[in-house]
Amino acid sequence: MKKLRLATTSLAGCFGCHMSLLDMDERLIDLLQFIEFDRSPLTDFKTFRQRCDIGLVEGGCCNEENVRVLRAFRENCDLLIAIGQCAIMGGLPVMRNAIMHAEQPLNECLQTAYAPSETVWNPACRIPADAELPLLLDKVYTCAEVVKIDYQIPGCPPSADALWYVLNAAVQGNPLDLPPELIRYD
């Protein structure tokens, strides 16, 4: 039997969805008979080795780098699945959008984080800005705003059971619809 190739990435997420993937525990070991990992923070493949059957995306897009990676996932994966609230709705990072009513929201954020204060020693009032740092987007975008997403697994994070159910269904060639008890919004 040909193994399914799986790629995963964490964009503007907290890595909790990847932790939930590892929470499959022993089932992960079993699953390895049917699944092979390609590009993923859990492996040392930093780019795609081959075209993948499934891409799991955690987190939305808050900078250009996230957009670039998400597009690469769309291009290289047959099925693209957004996992977790951040990928689907923006999650915690999207709270940044809620302060967009401020006159200079980005500047406010910068000042809050980096301006000299009780503990911040910054005599030159420097704000990180370097060609090495990817550009921030004006607001946080969900994955579906940037590329076509085939499936979404909600939850913060989705439970290991839900992730296992989907991967297992894909291995079996079954439809990827979650039973209601595995769907949660937290």
Binding site: F15, N63, L110, A129, A160
Partner: protein, 493 residues
Amino acid sequence: MTDRAAPTDPDIPVNQSRSESRRIEIDPITRVEGHGKVSIHLNSAGEVDEARLHIVEFRGFERFIEGRLLWEVPVIVQRLCGICPVSHHLAAAKAMDQIVGVDQLTPTAEKMRRLMHYGQVLQSHVLHFFHLSSPDLLFGFDAPAEQRNIFAVIQAYPELARRAVLLRKFGQDIIEVTAGKKIHGTGAIPGGINRHLTLEERDRLLGQIDELTQWCRDALKVAENYCEQHLDMLKSFASFESNFLSLVREDGALDLYHGVLSAQDALGHPIFAEADLTRFNHYLHEEVKDWSYMKFPFIQSLGPESGWYRVGPLARINNCKGMTTSEADLALKRFRAVLGKHCGHSLAYHWARMIEVLHCIEVIARLLEDSDLLTGERVIKGVRREEGIGMIEAPRGTLIHHYKVDEHDQVQFCNLIVSTTHNNTAMNRAITMVAKQHLNGQPNLDDALLNHVEVAVRAYDPCLSCATHALGQMPLQIELLDAQGQRLQMLSR
């Protein structure tokens, strides 16, 4: 989008954008948590000038938490980081305890929180050692990329891997029964906790202790043996002197939940020891640099040049007088007999981490026997205050949460100094050393050589998710296109 050309060779992206010098990029760093990259700058002679670890993400958390309600904070803030959410959950709860006027929790609340915390340090350390770092140690730093992952470990060492998976699961189970959920739970609330342990939960966990304690001993053995067999390498690979910072219990013993903030120099002499944690900002300041979203903390009295320090397992093992559990204490003595009292080797972090794993399971066993977990008062309240500072020894080191809350329960101010940030200067130093040592004079830089640099980063188990909570500014223009190539947004600054 930027002036950086897309890498052509996927493994060794080299680009010429900086006029004379050459630059090598490792992007993303893998088998660490979160997003980061390393740039290595070569001079015109082709030698390594400097290596830099860049934190490339941001959240803006400190600004957008303003206005949120105090009881929401411990639940929201952990979503900075899914690897050690419990640390943020508890540090925020500890700060909120002070705001609701509670200086001493009920025994039930404190013990439940301790159990939650030790469960999480256990799972996080096991995850780091086995799932992320063990491929480097088991297969060698220059093993082929195909082999350098947990899945290859599962194939080559199935029993070791199975135990690692189950040990981590045990830690996650403890978090689930104390916090309500394995990731992003809700167990700690301002002034206490919201649940007891049930008898069934306790018995189920206790039933596994003996076997798992044995596995922890074995896991420690793996790290000990590795370090003892590679002593020369340990001494030369990213080994340097530094100050160390951690909380220690009042009597000097290692404690992960609470203590005195203590800094020691490279010889083990105290720099400061402060029991009043709300005074931390008299001792620690943070410097801002252009090229990373992560700030660079230093001990104020020593200044930014020499005041930098390390945190995490090695700092705790170096700073403490001893361990409160018997087997871990013996393990500490063995560590010191081999590596000395104030050890500076980056790779010794692994050994220190596994001593803590054994310590955690011993503490968990002791706590589970305690009937305070099953009954007793869960929450208390006192006289309201405006400001709270919560500190905890997270798996990766001292974590500081500082909030001010107004009379409407709304957050007015927030500053977080996360564990990984404390290690910022040390990690940059470590990778520069390793890059100079291993990459200089190498005509062909391959993936295996570059992995040495990542090994140095990994020793610190950086949590780059945590480190990205701040926000920075980018000087260029960006456009965002949708799936059809339509422009959604254009941003310029």
